[in-house]
């Protein structure tokens, strides 16, 4: 037999490819099981962090403002109200407007970005442009909520803008929240009430 027979070469190639197939198969299995385990092991930690650092303080901020506005509104409408009749209607209108604007604010309008999520998403885009099945998937429940909200936006847009007007209502921002808080404070003090200090 000829030593340079191409047959020998093929055997070697076959062995090599067999070998790399085995190794990559095992690595893949390990990788899949690892990713699930790693994810499940850290969901709770992420949840606690998001709850305490972002969700609860942000929710409380908005909730308090809404509570203040609701109390002022109910005070202005109640018989206990001692405000001068001449300015009463203006104040009531103001309170209604503030309350309505506060109620428009959604979590998704004011939630700060998650830098780690954004960075990781970029990494996915960089490394795995080819395999699209590994994107960060949004939790199903959250996704449904977002979908519902955009549906609301569409409906709201239809009502408000009518025919042809392309002026879409902008979503509120954190700056709007700050501005609303200032308006609310001014309104409260103009009625002669203390604006509660919160911690």
């Amino acid at each position: 037999m000829d030593d340079d027979s191409p047959w020998d070469d093929n055997v070697q190639t076959l062995k090599d490819s067999e070998w790399s197939k085995i190794s990559s198969d095992f690595m893949n299995v390990g990788y899949r099981e690892g990713i699930t385990a790693g994810k499940e092991a850290h969901l709770q930690q992420g949840f606690d962090e998001g709850f305490a650092k972002t969700g609860a303080p942000l929710g409380r901020e908005i909730g308090l403002l809404r509570g203040f506005a609701s109390a002022i509104l109910s005070f202005l409408k109640s018989p206990a109200c001692t405000v001068e009749p001449s300015i009463h209607d203006g104040l009531l209108q103001d309170a209604r407007a503030i309350f309505a604007e506060l109620n428009r604010i959604r979590f998704s309008d004011i939630v700060p970005p998650d830098p780690e999520a954004e960075q990781h998403e970029r990494e996915h885009l960089d490394t795995a442009a080819a395999d699209r099945d590994d994107e960060i998937v949004m939790n199903e429940e959250l996704q449904q909520k977002r979908d519902l909200e955009s549906l609301e936006d569409m409906m709201g847009g239809m009502g408000a803008s009518g025919a042809g007007s392309k002026q879409e209502q902008k979503r509120p921002t954190q700056e709007d929240v700050t501005a609303l808080a200032a308006r609310l404070r001014a309104l409260t003090t103009s009625i002669g009430l203390p604006f509660p200090s919160i911690n």
């Binding site: 085995i22 990559s24 095992f26 690595m27 893949n28 299995v29 390990g30 990788y31 099981e33 690892g34 990713i35 699930t36 790693g38 994810k39 092991a41 850290h42 969901l43 709770q44 930690q45 992420g46 949840f47 606690d48 962090e49 998001g50 709850f51 972002t54 969700g55 609860a56 303080p57 929710g59 901020e61 909730g63 308090l64 809404r66 509570g67 203040f68 609701s70 109390a71 002022i72 005070f75 409408k77 109640s78 206990a80 506060l102 109620n103 428009r104 959604r106 939630v111 780690e116 795995a128 590994d134 939790n139 909520k145 909200e149 409260t188 009430l193 203390p194 604006f195 509660p196 919160i198």
Partner: protein
């Protein structure tokens, strides 16, 4: 070629381990990100409602004081409501201590306190300030709020840990 079966098994295991380790590190990032998104949302949802009751009570407290009202029942109700909201944790205690707080019960107490206060003030209660939430009817539904874990090691356990992870092809 001489095959040592023993060492082959070892090699397979070490390939698996290598893949597992990389996968675990990657999964960790996804777990943190997804958990954080859920926690932010839940924390906001709960504290938006609680803050509403708290803010309502705080401002009415100011009104009563400014008007010099001597209404002990209302004042008592306000104080009690504020005590209850102050008890509500702002962090998920699962991480820190196994406290005995019954969250759904506390939530129910706070809601009924708020309703009672509204009745005393002659005000129509606004349940859930947010007009955009589908959980509008959450008022009477203690099961809706994150389930208190029965294992006792966390108040809000994430209920969907069975999230499927899309398979990733590992390439060299």
């Amino acid at each position: 070629m001489d095959f040592d079966l023993e060492s082959l098994v070892h090699v397979e295991q070490s390939f698996y381990d290598e893949g597992y380790k990389d996968g675990f590190d990657h999964g960790r990032i996804h777990g943190l990100i997804e958990g954080r998104a859920l926690g932010r949302e839940k924390g906001f949802e709960m504290w938006e409602e609680l803050g509403f009751y708290e803010g309502f009570a705080l401002l009415w407290k100011g009104i009563q004081e400014a008007q010099g009202v001597k209404d002990d029942r209302t004042a008592h109700n306000i104080r009690h409501l504020l005590e209850l909201t102050a008890q509500f944790p702002r962090a998920n205690p699962s991480a820190t201590d196994a406290s005995e707080l019954d969250i759904p019960r506390l939530f129910r107490q706070i809601r009924s306190r708020y309703k009672a206060l509204c009745a005393m003030l002659g005000v129509k209660p606004t349940l859930r300030a947010s007009g955009s939430s589908p959980a509008q009817e959450a008022t009477e539904d203690p099961g809706k709020t994150p389930v208190a874990s029965e294992e006792g090691n966390g108040l809000w356990k994430i209920d969907d840990t069975r999230v499927s992870v899309p398979p990733k092809d590992y390439s060299f």
